[in-house]
């Protein structure tokens, strides 16, 4: 399908994606003695949504855990599992202090070291160092394009593109951890541009299933025209319509819906004048990127009003992803593991968003479980032989070089038009979902008509477009099936939760997406 890879490596474990989950997976696999290669589309340390954020974690002392789990289970609308929550809390509690040597945890005003929340750039810089110290081979600017199988059909690694070196890569490995993040459909969410659902597509092509893709309707506020989705200060915000009338935008789960309704009516402005003066001075040392858009546009957000918008998060602070079938985060494909936002987080979040905290804890926990599982799997498998013929599993959007008749940007715009508007995705209805699916199907047909890509960069763009489009179809196909409202999935034509939908919606299918209802088998048992 494309030129022979010019960088050829073999490993026990290949980790695809160098964000929070991927780096933890690589470290955990290396600690089991595995030879690990990590491929990252961008740069391991700056790529992904952790690096640009400041993740808190689900950080709960042992004696408070049962209460935390009970609270979370009550809001998860029946789709979560207390046992997975307990594992995640325990893993977070043990893992963060282990970073002490590499991350300068600050002390509070009482001299107590604070582990719960880390700054993204420093966190990911530390994770890069930790992975390097463990002997992980880091391939930066090396997006994966497809998974590989051997003659017998067993998973055998992946191949991709080294976009700065201008050559292909191929890593032969019997175990692969998919840690490619969620998919925000090229919204302007901070740090999300590389998160195009590549792992969902690669996983499904190899035989994996997805779960919970209908829970993909989360949004985050930002100053209009900027990417700065740092929501903390907006809890203090006062909001105004175009005539200057103050709007009632309640905090909590209703915030996004109220703001979206107002934005559908017209421009909305915000003023942060309720932030106490002592805090204003400190904000830039709490979240150093928060003030950049204001300072550089000459806005005083504490005095002036400034227009705001909502950026879509898709499955990033949504829930859906690759379905996991065991405690090692293995997918339906033997040897293929998934972690972080590439995996479904229903077991810890249920039908609601895990927000930054639960999702970060999930990333560092599922990353380590997947890395360990992959290392154990590799130990039981024969190595992939160097001369063995391998088959790529890509079925769509991986195009040979040649005359590019259309640019992928028009298709990306078509995806954006269905996945971003608040009246299509945030507040859903069966009729609109069907209309959007029809548009996405048309776009799929246009993708299938494309025969060539102009250059290697365009190969990546077309493959990303295919992944976003496939992901969009799985999200809305699942959303059509869940004919009720639950958690993040709100249907104006089916308000309220229905016992008939106490199910997990599994999905897959490339040309024809399908959705299956699986009864919930969750346990409220929490190990002592």
């Amino acid at each position: 399908m494309h030129a022979t890879a010019s960088l050829n490596l073999s490993a026990d474990v290949l980790v695809i994606g160098g964000g929070l989950a991927g780096t933890w997976a690589a470290v955990a696999a290396a600690r089991q003695g595995a030879r690990v290669v990590l491929s990252e589309k961008g740069y391991c340390g700056t790529s992904g949504v952790t690096a640009t954020a400041g993740p808190g974690h689900w950080w709960v002392p042992p004696e408070q855990r049962q209460a935390a789990i009970d609270k979370r289970l009550a809001s998860a609308a029946g789709l979560a599992d207390g046992r997975w929550m307990a594992r995640t809390l325990d893993s977070t509690w043990h893992t963060l202090p282990s970073l002490d040597r590499l991350y300068g945890f600050p002390v509070d005003d009482h001299g107590i070291k604070q582990y719960r929340a880390l700054r993204g750039p420093e966190y990911m810089r530390s994770m890069r160092r930790l992975a390097s110290e463990h002997g992980v081979t880091l391939l930066d600017h090396s997006p994966a394009l497809e998974l590989l199988r051997d003659d017998a059909g067993a998973l055998a690694g992946a191949r991709g593109l080294q976009r700065q070196a201008g050559r292909g890569w191929e890593v032969r490995a019997p175990a692969v951890v998919m840690a490619t993040g969620g998919c925000a459909f090229h919204s302007l969410l901070l740090g999300s541009r590389n998160n195009t659902g590549d792992g969902y597509l690669m996983g499904v092509e190899a035989g994996a299933e997805l779960s919970g893709m209908e829970f993909s309707a989360y949004y985050c506020i930002a100053p209009a025209g900027s990417t700065m989705t740092r929501s903390m200060v907006y809890t203090f915000g006062r909001y105004f319509d175009a005539s200057g009338r103050e709007l009632d935008i309640p905090q909590g789960p209703a915030f996004n819906y109220a703001l979206a309704r107002a934005l559908l009516e017209g421009p909305v402005s915000c003023r942060l004048d309720r932030i106490p003066a002592a805090i204003r001075e400190r904000l830039r040392y709490v979240q150093p990127n928060l003030m950049l858009p204001f300072d550089r546009s000459g806005i005083d957000p504490f005095r002036d009003t400034f227009p705001v918008t909502l950026h879509g998060e898709g499955t990033i602070r949504g829930v859906g992803g690759l379905r996991l079938i065991d405690d090692h985060c293995q997918t339906l494909v033997p040897g293929l593991f998934a972690a972080g936002d590439a995996a479904s987080r229903e077991s810890v979040t249920g039908a609601i968003s895990g927000g930054g905290a639960v999702n970060s804890s999930w990333a560092l926990s599922s990353g380590q479980w997947a890395g360990q599982g992959a290392a154990l799997h590799a130990r039981r498998q024969p190595a992939v032989r160097p001369g063995q013929r391998l088959l790529g599993s890509a079925t769509v959007g991986l195009l040979p070089l040649g005359d590019e008749r259309h640019a992928s940007t028009a298709l990306v715009e078509a995806i954006h038009n269905e996945m971003h508007p608040y009246d299509k995705n945030l507040v859903r209805s069966g009729g609109q979902l069907q209309r959007s699916l029809a548009q996405l199907d048309n776009t799929w047909d246009r993708l299938q008509q494309q025969t060539h890509a102009r250059d290697p960069a365009a190969v990546l763009r077309w493959r990303e477009t295919a992944a976003m489009l496939a992901t969009a179809r799985w999200c809305y196909s699942s959303a059509v099936q869940r004919n009720e409202s639950r958690g993040l999935h709100q249907r104006s034509d089916a308000p309220g939760q229905s016992a008939a939908f106490d199910v997990h919606l599994r999905s897959a299918g490339i040309d024809t997406p399908w959705v299956r209802h699986d009864a919930v088998k969750s346990s409220r048992e929490v190990p002592a």
């Binding site: 589309k41 961008g42 740069y43 340390g45 700056t46 790529s47 992904g48 690096a51 640009t52 400041g54 808190g56 300068g104 600050p106 509070d108 604070q114 719960r116 929340a117 880390l118 700054r119 750039p121 420093e122 930066d140 600017h141 976009r163 700065q164 302007l188 901070l190 740090g191 999300s192 541009r193 590389n194 100053p223 025209g225 900027s226 990417t227 700065m228 903390m232 200060v233 809890t235 203090f236 905090q251 309720r274 932030i275 106490p276 805090i279 400190r282 830039r284 040392y285 709490v286 979240q287 150093p288 990127n289 003030m291 950049l292 858009p293 300072d295 550089r296 546009s297």
Partner: protein, 116 residues
């Protein structure tokens, strides 16, 4: 998006070319980075953190390029702002730029309380 590269400040270390997660920059023939693919920029400001010479300037508009006066930006004091406020490199030992990220939780609590 990334708008300006001040080559007279640039050391030519190439860190920004490596660190940009969107592969926007390339090393030019003079040994300094050039903005090769501006449309790919995701306006994440990470390149500024990795530029110890404060030679890069990202404008917060993520939708379209803007026209800027380099002299005005040089005089604005905004070059290196993000790296300094983050306490990176030479700022690490300066107590003015201590990491106060742990205050996030108390700020959230205060905000919720202020709404009654």
């Amino acid at each position: 998006m990334i708008e300006l590269i001040f080559t007279d400040r640039c050391s030519g270390c190439g860190e920004c070319v490596a660190a940009c997660p969107s592969d926007v920059l390339a090393l030019g023939s003079e040994g300094h980075p050039v903005i090769a693919r501006q449309a790919e920029c995701q306006t994440c400001f990470m390149c500024e953190l990795y530029c110890a010479s404060d030679a890069l300037y990202v404008h917060p508009d993520c939708e379209k390029p803007v026209s800027l006066d380099p002299d005005q930006v040089l005089g604005s004091g905004l070059l290196g702002q993000y790296r300094r406020d983050s306490g990176w490199d030479e700022w690490a030992a300066d107590p003015r730029y201590d990491n106060q990220h742990w205050r996030m939780e108390e700020i959230f609590a205060l905000a919720r309380a202020s709404k009654g």
